[in-house]
C-alpha cells in the first residue's frame, strides 16, 4: 500500500489537467467540474488514510525506515542526481493527511461558495494544482522536489489571490505575494547549494545521515538560509507583508492556502530538517525569537482591524509565529501538532467568515454587522467553537497544542522564560481579538443596512457541512495529544517521536543558557516539572479568560469605551491600525530604490555612457573622414605634384 504514495499527489494533478484543459476547452457543466475536483481530493484523502494505517501497523522504528518511493530520475549531471521520489514517514503522512483532508472539505465548501462565479472552472483547476504542489512539497524525498512544490504553491497562491484579475487590488496583491515569496526562496536555494556542496546529495535520507560531518558554522548558515525561505513562505517577520493583502482572494482560498496549508510549509520544512537545526542552537534561537516576536507583533495588529479577513490574516501570522516558536525551542512535534489544530480551527474560521460574507451580501467590515447569531446559527456555533479553540480554552484542540508550545518554550533546553512570557502575552491578545471579532460580528445590535438585513440567511448545506466537520475536528482534534501531566497519552508526540527523537544532543547546547543562566530553561525536566507544567497551564488559561473578559466588557457591555480609548491614544492607535507603516517603509526603501537604480542604469549608464561611447567612435570616424577628404581637391595638377614629389623621393631613396 505504501508504494502507492505517488498517487496521493497524482489525483489532484489529474484533476487540474482535466479541469484546466478539457473542462475549459469544452465548457463543461459546473457540476462535472466540481465533482472531478472534489473526488480527486477525496481519493487523495482516502489514500492518505490508507497509507497512514499501513504505516501505523509497522513498528515505530520501522516507520522512519520505509524506503522512499522513487518514480524516475530527474536531473542527472555529473555527480548530481535528483529524483522524483516520495517519502513516507510519520511526519509526511501527517502532513499529507492534514493537507488532503482539510483541502477536501474546503473543496466541497467551494462548490457552494463559488457557485455563481464566472471563473468557476478556472478556480477548481487552480485549487487542484495547488493541492498537487502542496502534496509534492510534503511528500518529497529530496530538497529539490520539495523546492518544486515550494515554488509551485507560491505560483498557485499568485494565481488564486489574483483570481479576480479584472480588478487592480487582487492583481497587485497576487504579484506582491509572488515576489515576496521569491525573496525568501533565494535563501532556500542558497541553502540547497550549500547542502549539496558539503554533503554531495539532496535526498533527505542522505543529508540527514551525513549531517554530523558538517561543522557548526556551516550548519548554522544552512539552517539560517532555510529559515529565510521559511519566513517568506510562512509569513514571518520580515516577509509577512504579503499575507494580509492576500485576503483579496476568494475566502476558501484564504482558508486553504493562507491558513491551513501553504503557510505551514516553512514549519514543515524546519521540522523535516530537525537534525540540522538541532546541530545549530544559534539558528534555533533565531527561529524561536522571530517566531515569538511575530506572534506578538501580528497579534497587536489584529487587535484593531475591522475587516474580518484581515483580523484572521494577522491571527494566522501570529499563530505561525507560535509554530516557529515551538520548533525553535526544539519542540518539533508540538509545532506540528499546532499546525494540525490550527489547520482545523483557522480553516474553519475563514470558511465561517466566508459564510458570514455570504449571509451579509458580500460585506466584510464587522462594524456593519452584528446580531446575526440567531439568523445564521450553524455559522455562529461553528465559529464559536473555532474561537474557543484558538483562544486556548481547555477541552478544545487549540488548548492542547498551544499549551504544549508554551510549556516547551519555558521548559526546553532551548527555551527561555522570556519566550514563554511573549507567547503568553500573545495568547492573551489572541483570545481578546478573536472574541472581539466574535462579539462584534455576531452579537449586539445589527448595524447593517436595511437591504442587507433582509437577506441575512444561513448558508446552504454544502457550505455548512464542512463547517460542522471542521468544528468537530477543532473540538476533538486535540485529544490525540493530551500531555502526560493531565493523565493522557500523547499519541501525537509518540507517533512523531522516531522522526524527531534521533537528533544528536551533543552539539545541541541551548544558546540561551549561555546568556541567562539564572532564568534559563525553567526546569529541563527535573523533579517538580509536572507541577510547573500544571501551573503554567493554569496561567495561560487564566490569561485567555482575562482576554475574553476584556473583550466581553468592551464589546458587549460597555461598547462606547473602545472608541474613547481610540481617541485618547490617537497616535498609538493610528500607528498600529496602519500596521506600523511597514508596507510604506518597504515601498519607500526597497521598491523605490530598486526602481530608481534600474532607471538610472538605463538612462545614465546604458544610454549615457555606453551608447555615447559607441556613437562617439562613429563621430570620430566621420570627423576624420571630413578632414581627410580635403586632399581630394579635384585639381589634377595637385595630384600630379604629389606624384612627382613621391617619385623624386623614391628615386632619392633608391640612389642612396
Amino acid at each position: 500500500m505504501i508504494e502507492l504514495v505517488w498517487l496521493i499527489p497524482l489525483f489532484p494533478a489529474i484533476g487540474f489537467l482535466f479541469n484546466g484543459l478539457i473542462a475549459r476547452w469544452f465548457n463543461l457543466d459546473k457540476r462535472i467540474v466540481g465533482w472531478v475536483a472534489c473526488s480527486a481530493l477525496g481519493l487523495s484523502f482516502l489514500f492518505s488514510i490508507l497509507i497512514f494505517f499501513s504505516l501505523v501497523q509497522l513498528a515505530p522504528e520501522a516507520r522512519v525506515a520505509v524506503p522512499d518511493r522513487i518514480l524516475f530520475d530527474w536531473i542527472v549531471s555529473g555527480d548530481l542526481k535528483t529524483v522524483i521520489g516520495y517519502k513516507v514517514d510519520p511526519l509526511s503522512i501527517i502532513m499529507a493527511l492534514v493537507v488532503s483532508g482539510v483541502s477536501f472539505f474546503i473543496h466541497i465548501y467551494s462548490v457552494g461558495y463559488m457557485h455563481d462565479d464566472s471563473g468557476y472552472t478556472r478556480y477548481f483547476a487552480y485549487l487542484n494544482l495547488f493541492v498537487f504542489m502542496m502534496l509534492t512539497l510534503v511528500l518529497a524525498n529530496n530538497f529539490l522536489l520539495m523546492f518544486v512544490g515550494w515554488e509551485g504553491v507560491g505560483l498557485c497562491s499568485y494565481l488564486l489571490i489574483g483570481f479576480w484579475f479584472e480588478r487592480d487590488t487582487p492583481a497587485n496583491a497576487g504579484k506582491k505575494a509572488f515576489v515576496v515569496n521569491r525573496v525568501g526562496d533565494f535563501g532556500f536555494l542558497l541553502a540547497i547549494f550549500l547542502i549539496f556542496v558539503h554533503l554531495g546529495t539532496l535526498e533527505f535520507n542522505g543529508v540527514f545521515a551525513g549531517a554530523h560531518s558538517l561543522d557548526a558554522v556551516t550548519v548554522t548558515i544552512i539552517t539560517l538560509l532555510l529559515f529565510v525561505g521559511a519566513t517568506g513562505k510562512s509569513a514571518q517577520i520580515p516577509l509577512y507583508v504579503w499575507l494580509p493583502d492576500a485576503m483579496e482572494g476568494p475566502t476558501p482560498v484564504s482558508s486553504l492556502i493562507h491558513a491551513a496549508t501553504m503557510v505551514t510549509s516553512g514549519v514543515y520544512m524546519i521540522a523535516r530538517c530537525n537534525i540540522l537545526y538541532s546541530m545549530a542552537p544559534v539558528s534555533m534561537a533565531v527561529v524561536a525569537i522571530v517566531g515569538a516576536a511575530t506572534a506578538i507583533y501580528a497579534a497587536s495588529m489584529g487587535l484593531l482591524q475591522f475587516d474580518i479577513k484581515r483580523v484572521l490574516a494577522y491571527s494566522t501570522i501570529s499563530q505561525l509565529g507560535y509554530m516557529f516558536l515551538a520548533v525553535g525551542v526544539g519542540a518539533f512535534s508540538a509545532g506540528i501538532f499546532h499546525l494540525m489544530t490550527h489547520a482545523f480551527f483557522k480553516g474553519l474560521l475563514f470558511l465561517g467568515a466566508g459564510s458570514v460574507m455570504h449571509a451579509m451580501s458580500g460585506e466584510l467590515d464587522m462594524r456593519k454587522m452584528g446580531g446575526i447569531w440567531k439568523r445564521a446559527p450553524i455559522t455562529f456555533w461553528t465559529f464559536f467553537v473555532a474561537t474557543l479553540a484558538i483562544a486556548g480554552i481547555p477541552g478544545f484542540s487549540g488548548f492542547f497544542s498551544k499549551d504544549e508550545i508554551l510549556w516547551q518554550a519555558f521548559d526546553s533546553t532551548h527555551g527561555h522564560v522570556l519566550l514563554w512570557l511573549v507567547g503568553a502575552a500573545a495568547a492573551g491578545m489572541t483570545a481578546f481579538y478573536m472574541f472581539r471579532l466574535l462579539f462584534v460580528t455576531f452579537f449586539g445590535r445589527c448595524r447593517a443596512s436595511e437591504e442587507v438585513k433582509k437577506h441575512i440567511h444561513e448558508s446552504p448545506p454544502i457550505m455548512t457541512i464542512p463547517l460542522i466537520i471542521l468544528a468537530t475536528l477543532s473540538l476533538i482534534g486535540g485529544y490525540v495529544g493530551i500531555p502526560h501531566v493531565l493523565g493522557g497519552r500523547n499519541f501525537f508526540h509518540e507517533f512523531l517521536h522516531p522522526v524527531f527523537g534521533g537528533h544528536p544532543e551533543g552539539a545541541g547546547h541551548a544558546a540561551f543558557s549561555l546568556v541567562k543562566p539564572a532564568f534559563a530553561s525553567g526546569g529541563a525536566g527535573m523533579g517538580g516539572g509536572d507541577s510547573k507544567e500544571l501551573l503554567l497551564m493554569g496561567v495561560s488559561v487564566a490569561i485567555a479568560v482575562i482576554g475574553i473578559s476584556i473583550a466581553l466588557y468592551l464589546y458587549i457591555w460597555k461598547t462606547e469605551i473602545p472608541k474613547r480609548l481610540g481617541e485618547r491614544f490617537k497616535t498609538l492607535y493610528t500607528v498600529v491600525f496602519n500596521k506600523y507603516y511597514v508596507d510604506e517603509l518597504y515601498e519607500a526603501s526597497f521598491v523605490n530604490s530598486t526602481k530608481r537604480l534600474g532607471t538610472f542604469l538605463w538612462h545614465r549608464f546604458d544610454d549615457g555612457v555606453i551608447d555615447r561611447g559607441v556613437n562617439l567612435v562613429a563621430d570620430v570616424m566621420l570627423w576624420l573622414g571630413g578632414v581627410l577628404r580635403r586632399i581630394q581637391t579635384g585639381r589634377v595638377q595637385g595630384y600630379a605634384t604629389g606624384i612627382i614629389l613621391g617619385a623624386v623621393i623614391i628615386i632619392l631613396f633608391l640612389i642612396r
Binding site: 580635403r630 579635384g634 585639381r635 595638377q637 612627382i644
Partner: protein, 103 residues
C-alpha cells in the same frame, strides 16, 4: 666632332629642359600649354636617350626615341581631341576650373 663635347653637358641640358617642362606641367593653367610642356619633357628624354646611345655605341637608345616620338604624336592627337570636347562641355580650358572630382 661630337665626341669633343663630354656627354655630361647633354645630360645636364636635358635634365634642365625636363625640369622646366615638369614645373610647367604643374604650374600652368592652360591645358594646351601643359601639353606643350609635356612635349618638352618628351624632347628632354629623347636627348638623354640619344646621348646615352652615342656614348655607349649602341642603337637601342635611338630605337627607343623612335617609339617615344610615335607615341608622343598619337598622344598629342588624342589629348587635343579631349581638350576640344572639354572646352565644349565646360566652356573653359583652364585646368584648375575643371575640378568636378573635388569633394
Amino acid at each position: 666632332m661630337l665626341s669633343s663635347v663630354p656627354p655630361i653637358y647633354f645630360l645636364i641640358v636635358s635634365a634642365v629642359i625636363f625640369a622646366i617642362g615638369a614645373v610647367g606641367v604643374l604650374i600652368r593653367r592652360n591645358a594646351i600649354v601643359i601639353f606643350m610642356c609635356i612635349e618638352m619633357m618628351f624632347s628632354a628624354v629623347n636627348l638623354t636617350l640619344i646621348t646615352a646611345s652615342h656614348h655607349l655605341n649602341s642603337l637601342d637608345g635611338v630605337l627607343m626615341v623612335f617609339f617615344v616620338m610615335t607615341v608622343a604624336a598619337a598622344e598629342a592627337a588624342v589629348g587635343l581631341a579631349i581638350f576640344v570636347l572639354l572646352f565644349r562641355g565646360r566652356g573653359t580650358i583652364k585646368v584648375d576650373e575643371i575640378n568636378l572630382l573635388k569633394w
